[in-house]
């Protein structure tokens, strides 16, 4: 095994806002991360590593029933125990919260009803964790069971009891119905129409770090919360709201996250509970969840049942697509409304789809709430589309790589659903992996049991609209330069392991010509740093990078002016490099960076600059147009080569070739790390990971442990060859796009397609396990269809669609009025 890598031709041809053509000194180099040394020496302090004097410990009592009315909670026996300091129930914190303004449906502790096994209903804080744990078991609760809603079918059919008293109807949380052009006409025009039903089982993030939070209440009535969160800004909002405090008195500090992947993006019950306890007791209070509790926090990948109907011409050109998705949302809203839209948003950005109809429905069920996991709502539909495309290619006797290459969405275009595409490097990604894997000599040519599969994907580099709609920037950076030559960057972004702190340092160092390791990076502290919306939607590099770029360029401008004055040179003639500021035409003429800052400080006073970033407005003008737009889309293509053991059905992936259109790598080492990590997680989703419940036993989570929730070990991980395609995007800092999520998406469909190539069976359900493969193989041996997967999509009342004509039918991004519809 070797993990060779190849990068695309260096690629210094930046057409970002940085001076074009000028070689970069920091950007594009495989530098170590600014926090790498702390991480390898055990110095990084994660939330659970924090200790404060007189600290108390908190434990939550969670519901042991999936759906129940809370009749009574008696904290008495627990409070009577020695060492127990305080207790809480939902009644003390009745205000609801949630990540989306439209789904403020959570209570810090369940008020009248428990909605899934694991829903927190009471809390204790005590002198030590063991006492808190023992006290939790002394609480007397009376729960009256309610009928449970177990999954998608139930959610559609069973209206009573309702899990929540809001949403579209019954247990339907949300229905989306968007029509861009006449899809039926598209099918009529087609030479071939395929209709597939595919299921993607839910799975979870499984960060190695279990969530932890520590709250402190000061004598002057200020609250500080340290937490393993990806979104301190939204935790800040939730705390202020539920605790009824002025936001100005609440400080949230996001600790480095021991893995996030989207699982630490919601404000959580335990964060609010420890804050409340700190206020009640005047002492610091910590909570650390157990692994099992992390499974209950979940917010992971939604199980999605999908129906995809696509019409194609003989050459594979798509004439129309009708996509339906049903999402098993679990017990709370979380990001679910956005997730629902996302299952229909990005189908159009890879291949030309002239007419597109999307219908999505999200159900409330009595399980741990689903939310955003790496790829948020888009891996499931991407999987369905890429698997179907493989089948279409076979139906048309075309090469699956060719069919994709032939019909790519063009760069600098607008899609049927009004997404604005900028740079588009998917073609190059496909060509690279096809060549690298020797695809042409392998596809349908390998011996029985071995196969290759290809799939592609795209993802956002940050969402075009914020969660709370407003006109303010999505990301802000402040820069402080002082006479010592020291530079500090302040930004609200959170490093969840992806290296966002480092990106800030690299960008600023590049512009100011200094060593990134001399820069002090202060992030994710709502008191000290300007707002950044959080580490989700792969938004950080692009948005904070742009904000940092702006702040740094403004600082550069000031310093350059001062130095130009001293040297009697033109400002344009001043260069920043190697820790010096000097005249381009005569590098000896200049000053150390510190000296230069001193001149600037003398001339302008204290040097501080700010930068911010707001994404460009997208062309869609219909309800729902807010989900999908992004300043830039990344693209990926992957070829998977695997073996299927014919006797056992067990899949073993040998190698994955992945091409990723990154725009421009700010640091190729980090990008590669993100790509490899995404491949790893995608592989887990493809072949083994799943969140499953026992319907027959109270809807318990079947396997809430590291042992039984199967995460690939070193034995399952395959060799990966990464190709970074650099086609700088004008909207990215130095042309950069995202890398943290997109490369995960093609893995699952490429695996499913490779299994078909290996043994001729279609597994239309993720994960693609040995059991399913064997079952389909046996069916095939017995003359039945060699397929495993769902056969029908349930009947859904979708209501009337919102009809938006695509751009090429004269549309302007607005929906048609009713009169126009009647005609």
């Amino acid at each position: 095994m070797s993990a060779k890598r190849s990068q695309n031709d260096g690629g210094a041809s930046s057409r970002g806002s940085h001076r074009a053509g000028e070689p970069t000194r920091v950007v594009g180099k495989p530098l170590r991360k600014v926090d790498a040394t702390d991480k390898v020496t055990g110095k990084t302090l994660f939330a659970d590593d924090l200790v404060r004097p007189r600290m108390l410990y908190c434990k939550l009592l969670r519901s042991h029933l999936p759906h129940a009315t809370i009749k009574n909670i008696d904290l008495g026996p627990a409070l009577a125990m020695e060492g127990v300091v305080a207790g809480l129930t939902g009644a003390e914190m009745p205000i609801q919260f949630g990540i989306l303004p439209v789904s403020q449906d959570e209570h810090a502790l369940a008020l009248d009803k428990a909605r899934f096994i694991g829903d927190p209903i009471a809390a204790i804080c005590a002198e030590d964790e063991e006492t808190a744990e023992a006290a939790i078991h002394a609480i007397k609760v009376e729960l009256e069971p309610l009928p449970t809603i177990t999954g998608i079918e139930d959610g559609i059919k069973i209206d009573e009891p309702r899990i929540h008293d809001y949403g579209t109807r019954g247990n339907v949380h949300k229905v989306v119905n968007l029509q861009f052009g006449d899809v039926e006409a598209g099918f009529a025009e087609a030479d071939h129409v395929r209709d597939d039903v595919i299921f993607f089982e839910g799975n979870t993030h499984l960060p190695m770090e279990q969530h932890a939070s520590l709250a402190e209440w000061s004598a002057d009535r200020k609250l500080t919360l340290w937490s393993s969160t990806q979104t301190p800004h939204y935790v800040h909002r939730a705390l202020a709201k539920v605790l009824e405090m002025p936001a100005a008195r609440v400080r949230v500090i996001a600790c480095p996250n021991g893995g996030g992947f989207g699982g630490k993006s919601d404000p959580f019950n335990h964060e609010i509970v420890v804050a409340k306890f700190a206020m009640m007791t005047g002492r610091p209070v910590k909570v650390t969840l157990t692994r099992e509790e992390v499974f209950y926090c979940h917010r992971g990948r939604h199980p999605v049942l999908m129906r995809i109907k696509t019409g194609v011409k003989k050459d594979g050109a798509i004439t129309g697509m009708h996509f339906q998705s049903a999402l098993d949302g679990g017990a709370y809203g979380s990001y679910g409304v956005a997730s629902t839209f996302y299952t229909g948003a990005l189908q159009t950005v890879t291949y030309k789809i002239p007419r597109y109809h999307f219908q999505g429905i999200r159900l409330f069920t009595n399980k741990a709430p689903c939310g955003p996991k790496r790829g948020h709502g888009t891996p499931q539909p991407r999987h369905a589309l890429e698997v179907q495309l493989d089948k279409i290619a076979e139906d048309l006797k075309m090469d699956p790589a060719e069919i994709r290459l032939k019909h790519l969405t063009p760069p600098d275009s607008v899609t049927a659903n009004y997404l604005k595409i900028g740079s588009m490097g998917l073609g190059e990604c496909i060509r690279k992996v096809v060549a690298g894997s020797d695809w042409k000599n392998k596809h349908r040519k390998l011996p029985y049991g071995r196969g290759v599969g290809i799939a592609c994907s795209s993802y956002l580099s940050g969402a075009g609209l914020p969660i709370y709609w407003n006109h303010m920037p999505h990301s802000g950076v402040q820069l402080k330069l002082d006479r010592s030559g020291g530079v500090a960057v302040f930004c609200g972004s959170t490093d969840i392991g992806q290296g966002s702190d480092s990106v800030l340092a690299y960008v600023v160092a590049e512009v100011l010509g200094i060593d990134p390791f001399d820069i002090r990076v202060v992030t994710a502290d709502t008191d000290l740093t300007p707002v950044d919306l959080g580490s989700y939607s792969s938004r950080v590099t692009l948005m904070t990078g742009n904000a940092a770029l702006q702040a740094a360029e403004r600082a550069r401008e000031l310093v350059a002016k001062a130095v130009a004055e001293k040297l009697e040179a033109k400002v344009n003639d001043i260069v920043f490099a190697d820790g010096r500021v000097f005249r381009a035409s005569n590098p000896d003429e200049g000053y150390s960076f510190a000296k230069a800052v001193q001149y600037a400080e003398a001339k302008f006073g204290t040097i501080g600059t700010v930068g911010s970033y707001t994404p460009p407005r997208s062309p869609g003008r219909f309800k729902g147009a807010g989900v999908g737009p992004s300043p830039a889309y990344s693209y990926s293509a992957a070829v998977v080569e695997l073996d299927v053991d014919p006797d056992t059905g067990a899949p073993q992936v040998h190698k994955i070739w992945i091409g990723h259109d990154i725009g421009k790598s700010i640091n190729p080492l980090l990008v590669e790390g993100q790509v490899e990590g995404s491949v790893y997680m995608g592989l887990g989703e493809a072949i083994m990971e799943e969140m499953v419940y026992r319907e027959n036993r109270n809807m318990v989570h079947k396997i809430p442990s590291m042992l039984e929730y199967k995460s690939p070990t070193t034995f399952e991980m395959c060799d990966v060859e990464t190709y970074l395609i650099e086609d700088p995007d004008p909207n990215g800092p130095f042309g950069a796009k995202e890398a943290g999520q997109g490369p995960l998406l093609p893995i699952m469909p490429a695996v499913a397609n490779a299994v078909y190539d290996a043994v001729g069976v279609r597994i239309d359900e993720i994960p693609v396990t040995a059991e399913k493969i064997r079952r389909a193989m046996r069916d095939k041996e017995r003359g039945r269809e060699g397929r495993f997967g769902p056969t029908k999509f349930p009947d859904v009342d979708w209501g009337d669609p919102l009809v938006v004509p695509p751009p090429w039918e004269g549309g302007d991004g607005k929906p048609l009025e009713e009169e126009a519809l009647k005609k």
Partner: protein, 168 residues
């Protein structure tokens, strides 16, 4: 059985051990795991935990040179033994070659699994200064990492091993 304490607290024992070369004397109760002793009593929080059930490898430390899971070893069972944690790997400001290589090659993303990997890898290199990929895969099969896909970790170990063998 729902009394979570099972029995009243037994008396504490005085534990003598060496941690990163330093003699430690600490009164602890028998049910305290080495993980708890290190993190909570000695404030050596470099050792992490992801499950406390032996299912993830995050808490790995070396006891008398052998990698074990500190979440399943009792503190009292380390009486007279020598324990090495990630805090003990560097020699003052000088990083261990493995630490250096992990930092350099991006083998630590979130860094949460890193201490466990470093110590497991250290013992591997003690046994086998030039391990093949297959050997590394087998030796690290008890450590899970959710961020890296392991590949950068292998590369870092290879680099450190080469440097330790004196290969440039």
């Amino acid at each position: 059985m729902s009394d979570h304490r099972v029995i009243p607290e037994p008396p504490k024992t005085v534990l003598h051990m060496k941690v990163n070369g330093v003699r430690i004397e600490e009164a602890i109760r028998p049910h305290k795991t080495l993980l708890e002793v290190l993190r909570e009593d000695l404030l050596l929080t470099g050792t992490k935990h992801g499950c406390e059930l032996g299912e993830c490898g995050t808490c790995a430390v070396l006891v008398d040179g052998e990698p074990v899971l500190s979440c399943l070893v009792l503190g009292v069972a380390c009486q007279g033994k020598s324990v090495e944690t990630v805090e003990g790997m560097a020699n003052g400001p000088e990083l261990h070659p493995l630490q250096e290589a992990f930092a350099e090659l991006g083998a630590a993303q979130c860094g949460y699994c890193t201490p466990g990997f470093l110590l497991t890898a250290k013992e591997l290199l003690d046994r086998d200064p030039d391990p093949s990929r297959e050997t590394m895969i087998a030796a690290l099969a008890g450590n899970l990492c959710r961020c890296t896909g392991y590949l950068k970790i292998y590369e870092a170990i290879e680099l450190a091993a080469a440097r330790m063998r004196g290969v440039k």
